[in-house]
Symmetry: C2
Subunit: 335 residues, 2 copies
């Protein structure tokens, strides 16, 4: 255990975050005080929500302060412990931050078993990503068997899980993604009934084809213009789940859905949620998803970039480029 | 009974409807066929929803066709009947249209009692206006005693009823209206706890003052920019009821609520509704509202313009000018 390199927020980004918005600092390797443990960070989760955490605006969680270690979900290995519940060699998941070593008093940490699933899966299907898909779809979307579930960002971390859960619950799953490769992946590898390539043409026409009776549940990860397109085609009593708006996060001003009056015409609901509210049910959801994975009925795909914490700003840009498929994870190599 | 003057839709309006969008025709006075009745139209309801009915766009109800008598809720008196359930002298309410005499087979008609309430009240508190406020607030908004209900268009037909029902259900009622006179009316005559004058200044600052714990239920009649302002101040778990968007109806393109991601941050719901879905419960709701009126706990204010069916286009413009207080009604004088 050498020094601890840490990525700190240096400035509030304007638009897309750049390297200039972060500072990398190095501190002595931490030692645990009584009641603390030290975690060597192994895999860092890259999430669209990170962009919101960098803004100085009230939200469901306080913004990252300037100078503070960038917030991130991560998994790692306990390398020193003076905490009664954790021993050296345990693996944990939690908001460990973009740094090589995290000091924790154990709050918010979950022990994970590297024998049961590869560590990055605890950031994907068995982590916040899977929980977001599971609770957003089932608690907010409330799809019924036979209904049509449409999800944007369908090749992404949350979207790929949403469509698969919809299928497992007896629904028709239609994805929206950008590019032929993603579309093929979503249908052929993930088993969606159809996937619309928003880069290839008219999303509204494709929705009429693939959701002929209208969209019962729309799980939105991207915001406009796709949100507006889907709103024109919702079924009566539809549920529109607002999970995120990656297409809007780097914009100076968010574009609102101008077709929101379809909520009136179609007696429909648009509802937002924050996955943290379901923390007391994570374990049950993870067990169900793990069961599907064990049965080969659910695919958790991670897109792992090998690097160091210093690489974080570039990997974050990849997330917003929209090129990755599955859950984007930074592997922190400790040499 | 002389001829029957009828106001027909002549053109699809661009923006605000003008006289040129309507034709007035005259036909012989109608005679009822077997199973029909003829109603002399006495009071015509002016509703923001009329603007949507003039557009050639799919909605919850088919558009008025070019050349068709303009759709309107109205009350009138049966002047001839060959229908077993209706006798000359009965009074009825229904979608009678902008015309002096309507022929009906009775479908959609409700008998009303001019002794129990003045006829225009059957277009206001005891009519579609009251039903819209009642079911929108109680079924979609679901306010709990002690919660804060904010309603826009608070001096208007629906808004004035929403705030009064909120008070009767034990809530704090805060209106949003334009101009000192309306604000005074809403607080002093209708008994709202507060009313914000959106023309006088910063709606967001006023919301912080008058809804210090956030807005639990927002009943939106107007759309942007007020919808966006209220979204910045919703409480956790808030319900945003989309009843209409009068500020948007005459715009070429609707402006969507750019602050819709507050639904996520505040775990809130935006939901639309159409009052017709509650038709089987109108009678029960009207009885409850009539009881409040009899007890002096509910004010139904009608703004009655005396004229003829020919006056309809000008009166419709008054509706969108935003100057009227209470329910705007055209009294059709039969000379």
């Amino acid at each position: 255990m050498t020094g601890n390199r840490q990525v700190r927020l240096a400035a509030r980004p304007q638009g897309l975050p750049t390297e200039a918005d972060f500072d990398v600092t190095e501190a002595p390797a931490p030692e645990p005080a009584d009641g603390q443990l030290v975690v060597q960070v192994r895999f860092i989760s890259l999430d669209p929500a990170m962009r919101g955490w960098m803004n100085d605006a009230p939200s469901y969680i306080p913004p990252v302060r300037i100078g503070e270690v960038m917030r991130a979900g991560a998994v790692g290995r306990v390398v020193a412990s003076r905490h009664p519940d954790y021993a050296e060699g345990d693996h944990v998941s939690g908001a460990l931050g973009v740094q090589q070593y995290a000091v924790s008093d154990g709050s918010g940490l979950i022990k994970v078993d590297p024998e049961a699933a590869a560590l990055p899966v605890y950031l994907g299907a068995l982590g916040m990503t899977g929980m977001t898909a599971y609770f957003g779809l089932l608690e907010i979307g409330r799809p019924e068997p036979g209904q049509t579930v449409v999800v944007s960002g369908a090749a992404g971390a949350v979207g790929s899980a949403v469509g698969q859960i919809a299928k497992l619950k007896g629904c028709r799953a239609v994805g929206i993604a950008g590019g032929e490769d993603k579309v093929r992946f979503v249908v052929e590898e993930l088993g969606f009934d159809a996937c619309i390539d928003y880069k290839a043409g008219d999303v509204r026409a494709a929705l009429r084809e693939h959701a002929p009776d209208g969209v019962d549940v729309y799980f939105d990860n991207v915001g406009n213009p796709i949100l507006d397109a889907v709103l024109t085609h919702i079924a009566r009593g539809a549920r529109v789940v607002i999970c995120g708006a990656i297409a809007q996060y780097n914009a100076d001003t968010v574009e609102g859905p101008s077709n929101y009056l379809q909520l009136l015409v179609r007696r429909s609901t648009m509802q937002g949620f924050v996955v943290f509210d379901y923390a007391d049910r994570y374990a049950q959801a993870a067990r169900e998803i793990a069961g599907w994975m064990a049965d080969g009925r659910f695919t958790s795909l991670q897109d792992i970039v090998c690097g160091s914490v210093d690489t974080f700003p570039q990997v974050l840009q990849q997330l917003f480029d929209g090129d990755n498929v599955g859950k984007l994870v930074l592997e922190v190599q400790h040499v």
